[in-house]
Symmetry: C2
Subunit: 347 residues, 2 copies
C-alpha cells in the first residue's frame, strides 16, 4: 500500500465533500425500509411491524485492531461490517441499516478508500444491511466505527441472560483459527505454509454466523447466545455472569480445525490456548435446553450450512466455570481474552 | 488535566471490562422503549407505532475537533451528544437511543472518563436519549463516536430537499459565536474579556435546537431544514443543492450577538466571516412557505424559547446563491465552511 501512495489522489486533495458525493452515488438505496439514505442530517427508515430493533456498534483502530501491512482496504471494510453483523447474529436479528464513521489520514489514497467502502457495502448487502450515512473526519490514524440497526421478531431476540443449569453448551465452526492466523502474519518465517492461508483468511475476513443466529431465534432453539470476539474463555464468563449460572467445558469436545492442528504441530505450539483464549473467531456460543438438543444437532447444520458442536453444559453458579481436560482433571477456566487496555497492543 | 493524571487511576490499569461494569451501572435504563440496555451483544428497543426512525452519527477526534487544554471531559461528553441531537433536531425528530464508541489512550484517568460519560448521559437524557451500549477500545488519541436513533411521526421528518423558490429562509439564535469562541480560546491575549466567556460557552457546550425542530416538524411549518455545523455558507449550499433551488441572503438581516460585535470591535476583527463561515453554531437553518411566515414569527419563539429570524429567501436555481450586502451589492456566496481534509487542523 505505502509504495503506491504517491501515484494516487489522496483524500487530503479531493476533500471531504467531494468524497461524500462519490460515496453517495455508490451507496444508492435499494432497501425498501429505507425512506431516506445518505445526504441529509440523518437517514430515515421504517421499522417492520411486529419487530423489535437491535442496535450495536464496533470501533476498529489502525495499529490496534488491524495493520495495513496485512489487511487490504477492501478486507478491512468487509471485516468491519462482519464484526457488526456478528453482534446482530448473536441476537438472532437481521441487519437493516448501518452508519459508517471514518477518521482518515490526509494522505490516504482515494482508491483505497473506495475499496474500503466496496468491502463494507458488499458485505453489508449480503446480509441485508444498507449503508445509509455516516461521518468522515480527519485523523492521524485510520479509525472506523460502524453502527448497525437490525430487526428481530418481537420477543425472539437471543440474549446472554437466558441460559439455565442443565442446558447444553454449543459452538459453531472451529475455534482458534483467527488467533493462529494472526500468529502466522506476525511470524512470516513460521512453518506450516499449507495451513497458514486458511488461518489468515479466518483472521482477515471472518464470516458472521448469521444463518445460525436467525435459525436459533426464529425456531426458539437457544436459551442464550453470544458471539466469540474476545475468545471462548472470556465469552463463557460473560454468558455465565449474565445468566447467573456456571459451565463445564470438555477439552476433548472443543472444535479444532485441521489447519490449526497442522500449523501448531509444524511450529511446536500448543493449540489449546488458541482455542480457549484466541479472539476474533466470530463463532457463536449458545445454550440449548435438553428438549431441543437433537433438533439442533440434526437440523441446524443442514439448514444453515454451518457445523455446530456441543462442548459442555451449564451448571449451577456455585460450581463455577470449569474446563475438564482430556485426562479428566477439572480446572477453573479463567477469562484470558483480549482487554484493549491491560493487554499488549494487538496487530 | 495533565498535572493531575499521576494521582488518578487510569483506564490502562482498571481495564476495559472493569470500566464497562462501572458505566453499565451508571446507565441503568429508564426509557420505556428500551427492552435491553448495556451488557449484551446489542441493545434492543421498541419503535413507537406510527413513527419513522432517524439514524445519525458523529465522530470527534482529539486535536482535530477538540483539545483537552480547553474542554473538560464533562463538556466534551455534553458536546458530543449535542452535535448528534442537533442532527436529530434538524430532522424534526425526538432522540431515543444512543451508542457510544470510544477510543481511549491507556493513561486516560478513570475519573475523567466518568465525567465524560456523565456529560453524555445528562445531555442525552435531557433530550430523551438513553445510552444503551457502545464499544471501548484503546487508541493513541481520544476518539468518540455517537450513533443516535430518533423517532418522528410518519411523513413529518424535515429534509434538506423540500425548499421551494419563494420560501423564506430562517435561522435560529445567533451565528458566528462558536467560531469567535474558538478564536478567543486560541488567542488568550485577545481583548474583549467581557464577551469571551459567552462566546467560549457557545463553542464548548452548544445547545441543540431540539424544541424548534420538533415544532417545525409536528406543525408542518418548514419545507426544509439543516443544522449549521460547518458554517452558514456551507449549509446553505447543501440545502440549495438538495432542494434544487438558489437563495438570497441579506447581510443586514443576519443575527449577530452583542458579544460577537463587542469581541470583534475590541480586537479590530470583521464579524462577518464568523457569521457567514464560522462552524459549530448548531443553529437550525430552515425554509418556510409564505403562508406560514407569520405563524413562525409570532408563535415559534414563544413556544420554543428560541429566537428565529428571516435572513432571506429561496429563489430559482438559476439565480445561484447570493449575499446582498448592506450597501445593496449582490455577491455570490461561496461555501467556505470547514473541510476536515483540505482545511488546516482545527482545535
Amino acid at each position: 500500500l505505502k509504495n503506491e501512495k504517491n501515484n494516487k489522489p489522496t483524500i487530503g486533495k479531493s476533500g471531504e465533500f467531494g468524497f461524500i458525493e462519490k460515496i453517495r452515488s455508490a451507496m444508492k438505496t435499494k432497501n425498501p425500509s429505507v425512506v431516506l439514505g445518505i445526504g441529509d442530517d440523518a437517514a430515515i427508515f421504517k421499522p417492520t411491524l411486529g419487530h423489535e430493533l437491535i442496535f450495536t456498534t464496533d470501533m476498529l483502530v489502525e495499529d490496534r485492531h488491524f495493520d495495513f501491512k496485512w489487511i487490504t482496504p477492501w478486507q478491512l471494510g468487509a471485516k468491519t461490517m462482519a464484526v457488526n453483523v456478528s453482534d446482530c447474529a448473536a441476537m438472532g436479528a437481521k441487519p437493516t441499516v448501518a452508519l459508517v464513521s471514518l477518521g482518515v489520514p490526509k494522505n490516504f489514497p482515494v482508491p483505497d478508500l473506495e475499496a474500503f467502502y466496496d468491502g463494507l457495502k458488499q458485505w453489508g448487502e449480503s446480509y441485508g444491511a444498507q449503508i445509509v450515512g455516516g461521518d468522515t473526519v480527519g485523523s492521524d490514524k485510520f479509525v472506523v466505527n460502524v453502527a448497525l440497526v437490525g430487526e428481530v421478531e418481537k420477543g425472539k431476540a437471543l440474549k446472554r441472560s437466558g441460559a439455565q443449569a442443565g442446558d447444553a453448551l454449543f459452538v459453531t465452526g472451529n475455534l482458534g483459527d483467527s488467533a493462529a492466523g494472526l500468529h502466522a502474519l506476525q511470524h512470516p518465517s513460521a512453518k506450516g505454509k499449507e495451513a497458514a492461508p486458511l488461518l489468515i483468511k479466518k483472521h482477515l475476513t471472518p464470516v458472521p454466523r448469521f444463518t445460525v443466529g436467525r435459525a436459533l431465534s426464529t425456531q426458539k432453539m437457544a436459551t442464550s447466545a453470544i458471539d466469540i470476539s474476545d475468545g471462548l474463555s472470556s465469552e463463557i464468563h460473560h454468558l455465565c455472569e449474565e445468566s447467573g449460572v456456571g459451565a463445564e467445558i470438555h477439552e476433548e469436545a472443543l472444535p479444532f480445525s485441521e489447519a490449526l492442528i497442522h500449523y501448531c504441530d509444524e511450529n511446536q505450539l500448543d493449540p489449546l490456548p488458541f482455542v480457549l483464549h484466541g479472539g476474533e473467531d466470530y463463532e457463536l456460543l449458545f445454550t440449548v435446553p435438553l428438549a431441543k438438543i437433537s433438533e439442533v444437532i440434526q437440523k441446524l447444520p443442514g439448514e444453515t450450512g454451518v457445523a455446530v458442536k456441543s462442548i459442555g453444559r451449564m451448571v449451577p453458579k456455585s460450581k463455577g466455570i470449569t474446563l475438564i481436560t482430556r485426562k479428566g482433571q477439572r480446572i477453573p477456566l479463567e477469562a484470558k481474552g483480549y482487554d484493549h487496555f491491560t493487554a499488549k497492543d494487538k496487530a
